[in-house]
């Protein structure tokens, strides 16, 4: 139909230019984003106390906001703060021994120094965690793999990672189908732990085996698509090359963090 083919032409044209993800930060080269975030994440280690780490933790939501990924990033990051950050802080604050405890509760005697140390450690972990979460929200695995391929990484390597996402979806779906089938057939999946443990095996073994049995056909079908050809592959989807100002920005950030570490080593801080 003419209207349908009209759609496909319009659709195809989007590949004639670099991917536009609709946001200057998300359009940045994933590798540049990676370098900048690593530098920011480790920077607080150079500074004493917890203030630097706290600032970095506050910088991430701002970046996420400008990158238009706040909706994905913030809930995850908040959850991490509660589940990981808070627990790390409490455990440290409670168990690090020292003089002048603030109060006593059995063996637990938190001190001000312990609280400070706990806050520093928890915030350092959160600084690194935030960088990881933000990176995957901004760059996404798909574009990271594309950036790596464009830099010469073999598609066989990126295939493993990209295909694993689809495999997780497919296997998950299959496993849930089998689980429901087992339940409707009266196989118990609730009740005591031995009953539940026994249900685990018949759900998963057939699902896993079915997936393994498909590998042969997957190998043949990708081979039929010239996956094993020796010529260098081209790319339908292309990323805009990193802009000079982005590279300058990355270099400045990395240099600043290096200076901080050198300063820390020389005892300036």
């Amino acid at each position: 139909m003419s209207s349908e083919s009209g759609n496909s032409v319009a659709f195809g044209n989007r590949f004639r230019t670099h991917v536009d993800r609709g946001n200057p930060i998300r359009n940045m080269d994933p590798i540049v984003v990676f370098i900048v975030l690593v530098a920011i994440a480790i920077a607080p280690i150079a500074f004493p106390g917890f203030v630097a780490a706290a600032i970095v933790c506050l910088v991430y939501p701002v970046i996420a906001l400008f990158a238009g990924v706040a909706r994905e990033f913030l809930p995850t990051y908040l959850r991490l703060f509660l589940v990981v950050g808070l627990v790390l802080f409490v455990l440290r604050a409670a168990f690090i021994e020292g003089k002048d405890p603030l109060f006593r509760l059995g063996n637990i005697a938190p001190t001000w120094a312990g609280m400070e140390e706990g806050a520093r450690f928890a915030l350092l972990v959160m600084a690194i965690s935030g960088a990881v979460t933000l990176f995957f929200n901004v760059a996404t695995v798909r574009y990271l793999m594309l950036a790596l391929e464009l830099r010469g990484v073999t598609p066989r390597a990126t295939y493993v990672i990209l295909a694993s996402f689809q495999s997780i979806i497919d296997l998950g779906r299959h496993a849930r189908t089998v689980l429901e089938a087992q339940q409707s057939r009266g196989i118990e999946t609730q009740g005591n732990i031995i009953v539940r443990a026994r249900a685990f095996f018949p759900i998963l073994a057939p699902v896993f085996l079915a997936a393994i049995n498909q590998t042969e056909e997957r190998a043949i079908s990708l081979d039929a698509r010239a996956f094993n050809s020796n010529v260098s592959h081209t790319h339908l989807v292309t990323l805009r090359p990193a802009r000079p100002r982005e590279i300058v920005f990355a270099v400045v950030v990395v240099a600043a963090v290096l200076v901080a570490f050198i300063g820390s080593a020389l005892g300036w801080l």
Binding site: N7, S8, S167, S221, A224, R225, A226, S229
Partner: protein
């Protein structure tokens, strides 16, 4: 140069006892549409796999006899080169989607990217194939969320986009309704017109009768008969080996049995329609002559 020359070819898959192909002697010419027919487990898929080198290069086993593909011994081919010259679409549409692309458009483009085609050409080629197969409504969809029939079409499109000289298709219509099956065969016929050689496995005998130039009938791994479509379908050999025939051929035979044969045995519907029309006009005379 023949597309394939098999001399006394037998093949037994590793870890099985029964041979999948037994003593096959066959020459396939370029530029024709061959249909491989036969009951289940008669060796159809193995023959397809052999033409594409998957047997015995990927699925190991014991191959005896000699197999030449386009004038070169199967074992002298570089597997990557063979996969470029011979396109291969197989039965299961679910394992033919790569699982690494987000849209049908990108899925169809995958093979072309792997061949190193510049991206502007890739886009043009994919658009052509999409139009040809009327897949416009699917291009933006996630190929991993499609139905079996849709996946089958996408898998087919992905291979014909690569424009190989020879295309081997194992059951192109197994997941399709009659209307889509007709459409797919029309496209295959068009490919042949452009000079491609086609070898396909098909169970829908009416389609085979209508489109195939020659038919290869297998049974139990043995070649029953190979020849022009109408000859094969009217051959007593086929009858003896319990292989399905087009409905109109069966009908003509039934008529013959009750003493009212058509002027000749038809294999396509169009032929049957003509013969029956002729008989209805000249019917009385034909009857009187008996």
């Amino acid at each position: 140069m023949a597309l394939a020359t098999l001399r006394g070819v037998s093949f037994t898959y590793a870890y099985t006892n029964e041979p999948a192909l037994r003593d096959i002697n066959l020459t396939l010419e370029e530029g024709l549409l061959y249909a491989i027919i036969g009951p289940n487990a008669s060796g159809k898929s193995t023959l397809c796999a052999l033409l594409r080198g998957i047997v015995p290069l990927f699925h190991e086993g014991e191959l005896t006899g000699s197999a030449e593909i386009r004038g070169r011994n199967l074992f002298d081919w570089d597997p990557a080169e063979l996969s470029r010259e011979i396109g291969y679409v197989f039965e299961n549409p679910f394992t033919q989607i790569s699982g690494i692309k987000e849209t049908v458009f990108e899925e169809i483009a995958l093979g072309l990217e792997n061949l190193g085609m510049p991206s502007d050409e890739v886009i043009d080629r994919v658009e052509q194939v999409v139009e040809q197969l009327e897949l416009g409504a699917l291009v933006a969809k996630n190929p991993n969320e499609l139905s079996g029939g849709q996946r089958q079409k996408v898998a087919f499109a992905s291979i014909i986009a690569m424009d190989a000289d020879v295309i081997v298709i194992d059951e192109p219509t197994s997941q399709l309704d009659p209307e889509s099956s007709d459409a797919v065969f029309a496209i295959i016929a068009n490919l042949k017109k452009k000079g491609k050689s086609i070898v396909l496995v098909e169970h829908k005998m009416d389609l085979v009768a209508q489109y195939a130039d020659r038919v290869i009938a297998l049974n139990g791994g043995r070649l029953v008969i190979e020849g022009p479509t109408s000859e094969v379908f009217t051959s007593p050999l086929l009858n003896a080996s319990d292989i399905a025939r087009p409905a109109v051929t069966d009908l003509a035979e039934a008529l013959a049995k009750v003493g009212r044969p058509l002027a000749r045995t038809p294999v396509t519907r169009a032929e049957a329609a003509d013969l029956i029309r002729a008989r209805m006009k000249g019917g009385p005379r034909a009857n009187r002559s008996r």
